[in-house]
Amino acid sequence: MMPKRTVLLLVFSLFLAACAGRSGTAVDDPVFDDAVTGPGTATRGVGDRDFGRGDAFGDDVARPGPQGGVLDSRVIYFDFDRSDVRPEYTEMLQAHGRWLAANPQARLRLEGHTDERGTREYNIGLGERRAQAVRRVLLLQGVDSSQLVTVSFGEERPAVIGSDEEAYALNRRVELIYVQ
């Protein structure tokens, strides 16, 4: 199991390194310009790194962070246009909070998401607000602020593709992602 995970992490860090060093691609500038580049150059430097974002895969790959019982729950869902954490998640967040307080070297990334309705940038705000709401609950559990980082993806990374209430409900979420 460990070698597999090591490989995965290696791939992921290589990918991050590739991203960090990558520059953009040329696109020809305005109309009457003979510096027009051919279609072949339009994808220069971006064509051959066709691998994904390196998420955990398969049931046998253990996720980082605490395991067992309510600690295996890593997603908090929200009502439409709301960012308050529903009472049903209190127990789960308390468990994660206690574990983080007891393991001050652990780091948790809170990724906020929204459904597809409304404007994309406003949804970035809404996703951030949801991630912050979860962060506040964890801080109350004695988690140090340096252990937590929030990221909002707005509606850009849906968990489920679809334009119905069921998909919307599954996409309005904060994911708890332990970082090693």
Binding site: T25, D33, G38, V46, R120, E121, G125
Partner: protein, 434 residues
């Protein structure tokens, strides 16, 4: 170098000469009910082999896409003149066209081309416009769009936008771990698509610089939202803002030196301006709600933005050096992502209309809102630089597609997207000084 000189010269001559000023005989009906009948006669070809491009077909398609013109079918043309001298105007009156374009595409021995055309008032037999444009092989399409712009402006009095460009974000395998996000730039007719930037992580909010040479956008390539500015010609890019938290919603100031943007320093989104070269950051709003989606007025003095400080998203305006924001939308419970019309009189917004997110325009003087689109989840409106059309994103068959609507709501079109999931169109400014 020689070629470049001749192109620059051609562009300068066009700028200096401008369209010929004369009596405008053709009355344009704005409705789709009465498009003006025009004939774009197939262009003559003076060169070896086949003509590399069908100039007349592209011009006709451009004019028809505006919704203001109906191009005569080639099968209904009684003659096919390629110069003014060959035109028999009686035969064009018989097919009831108001305007007539004839021309030729020529290739010179050095491989360059020239597009020569004349626009006639078909009823009076008078020439309204005549040009000869030298273009390189690579610029044939854009030269043809420029021809369309000149014809459009002569007939309508409004500059054409056929030689402008559109940027958008496309996604394949959305929602999967192997998703690919692409920032794409294409001609205004959707052709000549080129990928500027590609990433396995989301790309958002492309925004043109006022000179059309750079695009600012948000990229999650490092796992968080960061703002980049990329130069189209070279592909070079800089990371303009990667501060802790959200870096999003970039918008260039009219002088191209500053960005308005959204940052979250304390977990809460607020509007800032950033002097890009000096990295001087100025806080514009400071409120415990979501403030985002800033856009500049043409004079650079005002920022329009979205805030939900009232409990739901509404549009506000504030001085670009700060001050007290003033709410300007009151109709409906959701108005967001403002974009100013080129004349500064209207804001295109996303407006919740009885449960559906639609594109609407807010008349700034009267405060009234007119809904222009009819989708369920329409977003990202962007004005054409002549103010006549708005491009936006809508959904069709479970994926994102682009659509345009005229600013008066009468002409509506869907742009094909070749099966990709596309979103966030941004119309470029004019790319040539007029």
């Amino acid at each position: 170098m020689l070629r470049r000189l001749s192109l620059v010269t051609a562009a300068m001559l066009l700028c200096l000469a401008g369209p010929a000023k004369g009596q405008l005989e053709i009355v344009i009906s704005r409705g789709v009910d009465k498009p003006v009948p025009v004939a774009i006669v197939p262009f003559g070809w003076d060169g070896p082999g086949e003509a590399p491009i069908d100039v007349a077909a592209i011009v006709a398609a451009n004019l028809e896409r505006s919704g203001r013109f109906a191009a005569l079918d080639r099968a209904d043309m009684l003659q096919r003149p390629t110069t003014g001298a060959e035109i028999d105007f009686r035969s064009w009156r018989m097919v009831a066209v108001d305007a007539l374009v004839v021309g030729q595409l020529q290739q010179s021995p050095n491989g360059d081309y020239a597009i020569q055309f004349q626009l006639f008032d078909a009823l009076r037999g008078e020439q309204l416009l005549g040009y000869r444009l030298p273009v390189s092989a690579a610029a044939l399409r854009s030269g043809t769009h420029r021809v369309s712009d000149l014809i459009y402006e002569r007939l309508t009095g409004v500059p054409g936008v056929f030689s402008t460009r559109i940027a958008w974000v496309s996604v394949s395998r959305a929602g999967r771990a192997d998703a690919r996000y692409r920032l794409v730039v294409a001609d205004a007719d959707g052709e000549n698509e080129q990928v500027m930037f590609e990433s396995p992580q989301p790309i958002m909010s492309p925004s043109w610089s006022p000179d059309g040479r750079r695009i600012a956008y948000v990229s999650f390539e490092n796992g968080v939202a960061e703002i980049y500015i990329q130069t189209l010609r070279t592909g070079d890019r800089i990371r303009a803002s990667a501060r802790p938290g959200v870096n999003s919603a970039p918008s260039f100031s009219p002088d191209g030196r500053r960005l308005a943007l959204t940052l979250s320093r304390d977990g809460n989104l607020d509007i800032y301006t950033l002097d890009v070269a000096g990295q001087v950051l100025t806080r514009i709003t400071d409120w415990p709600s979501i403030e985002t989606e800033p856009v500049w007025s043409a004079d650079g003095r005002t920022l329009y933005f979205t805030s939900d400080r009232s409990g739901n998203p509404q549009i506000y305006r504030v001085g670009s050096d700060g001050g007290r924001p003033e709410r300007i939308t009151f109709e409906g419970r959701y108005n967001a992502r403002p974009r100013l019309s080129p004349d500064g009189r209207q804001l295109a917004v996303v407006h919740n209309d009885r449960g559906n997110y639609r594109i609407a325009v807010l008349d700034l003087a009267r405060g009234s809102i007119q809904v222009l689109s009819d989708g369920r989840d329409d977003e990202s409106p962007s004005f054409a630089p002549n103010g006549e059309m708005i491009i936006y994103a809508t959904r069709e068959g479970g994926r994102g597609v682009l659509a345009t609507v005229s600013a008066d709501g009468r002409v509506r079109q869907r742009l094909s997207s070749g099966g990709e999931d596309v979103r966030e169109p941004a119309w470029s400014p004019f790319l040539l000084a007029n």
